[in-house]
C-alpha cells in the first residue's frame, strides 16, 4: 500500500468514505513510513503511533456504523509542535517546554478532530518559530528531502511540516506563519501552503511568536487539500478575539479549474526582479501559463514594501520578547543561540518605534489593497532562492549579496505585515533538482480565489506531483 502515502487528503477521504480503504490501513502506512524515514529527515518531534491507531480504529467503527464526520474522516495529518494537543507534549521545538503537556487542544486541532482527521504526531520546527531556516538545536535539524547528498534546510519555521508532507510521512499539516513560516518551507520543499487572512483562522492554543503577525494555515501537496483543511479550521472563535465572524465558504466549490478573466498582477520591483535567475524565470513562466489559460496578467510595483523589513523586525522582536521575557530572565541559556540573540533585539525597540512600525502597516496595507482593486491576485516568488545548504550564510540576489536568512523571509513577510492571504505552490525545479515556489496574494478574506488559481495551475502542471529522491 505504498501509494497510500502519496494519495491526497481529498482522495483518502473519498476512499475511506466508500470503504475502498480502511483508516487503519491509511494510518499504518504513514506510521510505517515515519518509522523508515524519519531518523534521517527529523520531521517529527513526537510520534503518536498508539493514539493514531486507536483513533483510526474508532473512525473505522464509526464508518461501519454509518457515521462519517466529513471529507476528512479517518484522514491522518500532523501539526507543527506549537499547537496544543491534549495529553500530548507541545514543545514549541524548545528545551524550555520539553515536558509541557497541554490540558486541551488548540481550537484548530479540535476542529480537525471534529472533522474526523487523525493526528500522527507533532512536527519539528525552528525553536519557538523564530527562524526561517527551520533549525533546531534540541531535536535536530529537519532535512530537506529533495537532496540526498547535501544536507539542505527545509525552510522554516515549519520545517517538519515541509519535510513530512514532501516526503509522504503525512498528507497534510498545519504550520504557522509570522514572516513566511508556511510559505518558505512550502517553497523549499515543493509543497502547497496557505497563509490565510489575519483573523480568518483562530490562533487560540497556538504558541505565539508575535501576536499581530502570526497566522495559522494548512500545508499540503495540493490546493484542494489546503481548501479542505482551511474549510475545517476557519471561522470565528470566541477564544481568539481577532477572529472574524464573516461566514466561511466551502472553499472546494471555488476550485473550478477555470482562470479565464482572473486578473493577475506580477509583482516586479522588490519581488520577482530580486529573485535568483532560475526562480525569476520559473515565476515568469507560471505567469505566462496562467495567461495562456485565460488569465489577464499585468505587472505591478509596490514601493512601500521596501520599508517592511525593519518595521516587521521591530514588531516581531518586541512582541516575541514580551512573550518570552520571564524565561529570558532566568532560562536564557536554554534557548538555542540564534533565537536567544533575536529575542534580545526586542529590548532595544522603544514604544514609539514599535508604534511607528504599526503605523507603517496601514500604509503598506493600503498600497496592496490598491493594487488589488483592479486585480484579483498578485503573483511573486515565495522565496527568491531554492533551499540553501545547512550552514550557508550568504547568497546572491538580483540586487546584490544578501544574508541567507534575510533572503528567505524577504518576499513573504510583507503579507504577514499587511495581513493579506497568500498561498505558495511549486512552480518548477532548478537544474540541480531543487523545487521553487511562487506565492499568490489575494484580497482580504478571499482565500477562495487564491486557492482557485493555484488549483487551476496545478491542473496545468505536474510540479506538485513530483516525489523527492529521499522518498
Amino acid at each position: 500500500m505504498a501509494d497510500l502515502v502519496w494519495t491526497s487528503m481529498a482522495d483518502l477521504g473519498r476512499m475511506i468514505a466508500t470503504k475502498e480503504v480502511s483508516p487503519v490501513e491509511v494510518v499504518r502506512a504513514h506510521l510505517d513510513r515515519i518509522a523508515t524515514l524519519d531518523a534521517g529527515l527529523r520531521a517529527f518531534i513526537t510520534v503518536c503511533a498508539d493514539a493514531a491507531l486507536q483513533a483510526a480504529r474508532a473512525a473505522e467503527a464509526d464508518l461501519m456504523g454509518g457515521k462519517v464526520a466529513g471529507p476528512l474522516h479517518g484522514v491522518p495529518w500532523a501539526p507543527k509542535d506549537l499547537y496544543s494537543t491534549k495529553g500530548v507534549r507541545t514543545t514549541g521545538g524548545s528545551k524550555i517546554l520539553a515536558d509541557s503537556v497541554p490540558a486541551r487542544d488548540a481550537t484548530v486541532v479540535a476542529r480537525l478532530a471534529g472533522a474526523g482527521a487523525i493526528v500522527l504526531g507533532k512536527l519539528n520546527m525552528h525553536e519557538f518559530a523564530y527562524g526561517p531556516e527551520g533549525l533546531n538545536a534540541h531535536y535536530g535539524d529537519a532535512r530537506n528531502p529533495w537532496d540526498s547528498s547535501v544536507h539542505r534546510v527545509t525552510g522554516g519555521s515549519s520545517s517538519g511540516s515541509g519535510a513530512a508532507v514532501a516526503a509522504g510521512l503525512a498528507p497534510g499539516s498545519l504550520g504557522s506563519d509570522t514572516g513566511g513560516s508556511i510559505r518558505i518551507p512550502a517553497s523549499l520543499c515543493g509543497i502547497t501552503g496557505l497563509k490565510p487572512t489575519y483573523g480568518r483562522v483562530s490562533r487560540a492554543g497556538v504558541l505565539p511568536l508575535a501576536w499581530s503577525m502570526d497566522h495559522v494555515g494548512p500545508m499540503t501537496r495540493t490546493a484542494r487539500d489546503s481548501a479542505l483543511m482551511l474549510g475545517a479550521i476557519a471561522g470565528y472563535d470566541p477564544a481568539d478575539p481577532t477572529t472574524s465572524v464573516l461566514p466561511v465558504p466551502d472553499y472546494t466549490t471555488a476550485l473550478t479549474g477555470d482562470v479565464k478573466g482572473v486578473r493577475v498582477g506580477l509583482l516586479r520591483a522588490h519581488f520577482t526582479d530580486v529573485a535568483a535567475p532560475e526562480v525569476r524565470s520559473a515565476v515568469e513562466t507560471a505567469a505566462r501559463q496562467l495567461e495562456q489559460a485565460g488569465a489577464i496578467v499585468d505587472e505591478v510595483n509596490l514601493t512601500h514594501v521596501a520599508h517592511v523589513g525593519p518595521a516587521s523586525t521591530a514588531i516581531v522582536a518586541s512582541e516575541a520578547l514580551a512573550y518570552h521575557a520571564a524565561w529570558m530572565r532566568v532560562r536564557a541559556q536554554d534557548y538555542q543561540p540564534d533565537v536567544r540573540e533575536r529575542l534580545r533585539m526586542g529590548a532595544f525597540i522603544s514604544g514609539a518605534q514599535y508604534l511607528r512600525a504599526q503605523q507603517l502597516r496601514a500604509l503598506v496595507r493600503s498600497e496592496i489593497d490598491s493594487a488589488l482593486v483592479k486585480r484579483d491576485v498578485l503573483l511573486a516568488p515565495a522565496t527568491p532562492i531554492p533551499a540553501p545548504a545547512l550552514g550557508e550564510r550568504e547568497t546572491t540576489l538580483g540586487d546584490g549579496k544578501s544574508d541567507v536568512r534575510a533572503a528567505l523571509i524577504r518576499l513573504t513577510r510583507p503579507f504577514n505585515y499587511s495581513g493579506h492571504p497568500a498561498g505558495s505552490a511549486p512552480c518548477g525545479f532548478t537544474a540541480g533538482g531543487l523545487p521553487m515556489g511562487f506565492q499568490l496574494v489575494g484580497r482580504p478574506f478571499d482565500e477562495a480565489t487564491v486557492l482557485r488559481v493555484i488549483d487551476a495551475y496545478q491542473r496545468l502542471t505536474d510540479w506538485h506531483t513530483r516525489r523527492p529522491p529521499v522518498a
Partner: protein
C-alpha cells in the same frame, strides 16, 4: 545621508536593565551591529508620511 546610528554597550546594558534583563558585555556585543542597523533603519521611517495613520494590527471586519 545620515551618519549610522551608534549604540554603546553601556547604553545597551541600561536599556536591557530597564526591561529587567541583566545581560553582560559578552552577550550584547555580538548583537550590537544588528541593533545599530535596525535602529538606523527605523530612524529612516520618520521621513515617511505616517502622521495621519493610526497604528494598525488587524482587519476590522465583523
Amino acid at each position: 545621508m545620515l551618519a549610522p546610528m551608534e549604540i554603546g554597550l553601556e547604553g545597551m546594558k541600561r536599556m536591557a536593565a530597564a526591561g529587567g534583563f541583566a545581560w553582560t558585555d559578552a552577550e550584547l556585543e555580538p548583537i550590537r551591529p544588528a541593533v545599530e542597523r535596525l535602529l538606523d533603519a527605523l530612524d529612516r521611517l520618520e521621513s515617511l508620511p505616517l502622521e495621519d495613520l493610526e497604528p494598525t494590527t488587524q482587519y476590522r471586519v465583523l
